[in-house]
């Protein structure tokens, strides 16, 4: 997760689908390929389909024969159970607040820092950039114990500050956006300055609109990374009311009373992954392009 790809500087040819290693495309010859790809795709997404159908099947039926999930009767009962047996609404609100704050801050602060590194000349620029980039190599395992101690001493355990503050900046975002700001012609900046535009005006009215694609891609990464966080929210919250959705579902499973209510557990899992699945459906192209370009995700 903390590695930068060679492809950063190279264009991604997602739309280029010419003849490949397998020979000429033939109309009738497409069928075996379609069939095998479809089968592979189905196998890969099967766990998600199983969760989805299980979440709509009455518990008695699931436990009697788990393959009965593929046919009706279906029910919404599991969702009611998941939502009422645990403070699931609260978990989701917590997750949205945590994710929203982290995403907005990371995008904003990364734009500012990336702009400074790309456009301004100042003493210590390359040293500071190396420092930011170097932080990508530091694994989270090394930092989370001292961070836990620090955040606890600040009295921020079980607070939104505790969930968000360590992640308000993103070295990856700085790196990615800097690449795009640097690709803007320097003349554009000089022309804007001659016309009397301030740096601030140039950033928000020229540089940011021209880098919409990159910023959108980073926003998606940032959102997914924050929403899917696990280890940190697990250690920094121990009050049920401050848990995020990912942690909520863990305790749903660990809680012995509920541990066999698979219908409700799957309903919870579906609710937790729904926002990320929606992002995937809507922005698949940007997401895939972003990963291919940077070799990174969340």
């Amino acid at each position: 997760m903390t590695v930068v790809d060679q492809a950063v500087t190279e264009p991604f040819a997602a739309e280029k689908t010419p003849d490949r290693a397998f020979g000429e495309p033939r109309r009738w010859g497409d069928f075996p390929l379609h069939a095998s790809l479809f089968f592979i795709g189905l196998a890969i997404s099967m766990p998600i389909f199983v969760a989805f159908f299980t979440s709509f099947t009455p518990l008695g039926q699931i436990l009697a024969d788990s393959n009965s999930i593929w046919s009706p009767p279906w029910t919404l009962r599991n969702y009611v159970t998941a939502w009422t047996a645990t403070p699931f609404g609260r978990f989701m609100v917590n997750s949205f607040i945590q994710t929203g704050v982290i995403t907005i801050a990371q995008v904003l602060f990364s734009i500012l820092a990336a702009f400074a590194f790309a456009v301004f000349r100042f003493p210590g620029r390359s040293a500071l950039f190396a420092l930011v980039l170097g932080s990508l190599m530091v694994p989270f395992e090394l930092t989370f114990i001292p961070n836990f101690v620090l955040i606890s001493n600040l009295g921020w355990a079980n607070t939104y500050q505790g969930l968000t503050v360590p992640f308000l900046a993103s070295a990856f975002g700085v790196f990615m956006l800097r690449q795009f700001f640097m690709s803007l012609p320097r003349d554009l900046y000089d022309a804007a300055k001659i016309d009397g535009a301030s740096d601030w005006y140039y950033l928000w009215r020229v540089a940011v609109p021209l880098s919409r694609g990159a910023i959108a891609a980073f926003t998606i990464f940032s959102f997914l990374g924050a929403w899917n966080q696990y280890l940190w929210p697990l250690v920094i919250t121990n009050e049920e009311t401050m848990r995020t959705a990912q942690i909520g579902i863990r305790f749903f499973l660990v809680n012995q009373e509920r541990a066999t209510d698979w219908g409700a557990i799957m309903a919870g899992a579906v609710i937790v992954m729904l926002p990320t699945l929606l992002v995937f459906l809507v922005a698949q192209k940007q997401l895939v392009k972003g990963i291919a370009m940077t070799g990174l995700k969340g």
Binding site: A13, L37, L42, A51, L112, F115, V138, P139, W262, A292
Partner: protein, 312 residues
Amino acid sequence: MAEVVAERRKHLPVKKDAPPRRRRRHWRAYLYLFPTLVIIGAFVYYPIVESFRLSLNRVAPFGGTEIFVGLDNYTRLLTSAEFWNNVEVSMWFMVGAVPVGIALAVAIALLLSYPVRRLAWAHRMLIFVPVVISSAVAGVLFRWLYNPVVGHINTWLEFFGIQGPQWLTSRTWALFAVTVAVVWRQLGFNVIIALAGLQQIDESYYEAAKVDGAGVWDRIRYITLPLLSPTLFFLVVVNVIISLQAFGEIDILTQGGPGQATENLVYSVFVDAFVGTRLRGFASAQAFLLALMIIAVSFIQFRGFRKRVHYQ
């Protein structure tokens, strides 16, 4: 009058190309960088130092009294059977997850790179989707699939007349089961990277090979794989790092069990620091050794990409 001007000039800075406006802009650059530098300084760089300091101390579970013990935590670690068990689990994890995950990804990417007329988006969607799934959700989904009595894996195996094992509570199968879940979640990402690598290979190589009469397998063996080697190298490094960092799936599927059969280094750091007796100094020493491994791998990658393995 002229004297006054000359007198004043003496106090002005001599550098002509550094007018006062420039200095104000420097100040502004630091302002733009301020939030990022503060966060990274406080939550990445300071903790490295602090982590090392903690690893040289014995920290009382509650109240946080610290006693300096030098390298005692490290020697205790290196002589404990538990630590070597965790190292072994991490290694098996890596050996199991990395080659299989990459081989699968490359095979699937080869199929995806073949031009199809319709439905390419549908294939891609079904294949890429694990990329947005969290480790917690992946853990929950597989915990259900692995359920020994009603889980789908065992009921499907039964269909073929195979009696499936108790996946998550069997010493033999638990590590394998967890590895599968991690490989699954990582697969979408790997396919995307492999596909991007395939699409950067210039078409003319294939055309030339075809003219020379090379078959499908020859083309894969002698053109695709060598030219894909930078991508493969990148995938190996990323997957090694990710497999060393696997945590969420382990926590949800087995919590390190049965016994310590699936307790890797990360999980052990978590257990030592946050569960039970809370040996934060001891845990920090482990975290430090783990981090050294990960940083070494990242470093190889950073250097490797300066040189490229085999580039067109």
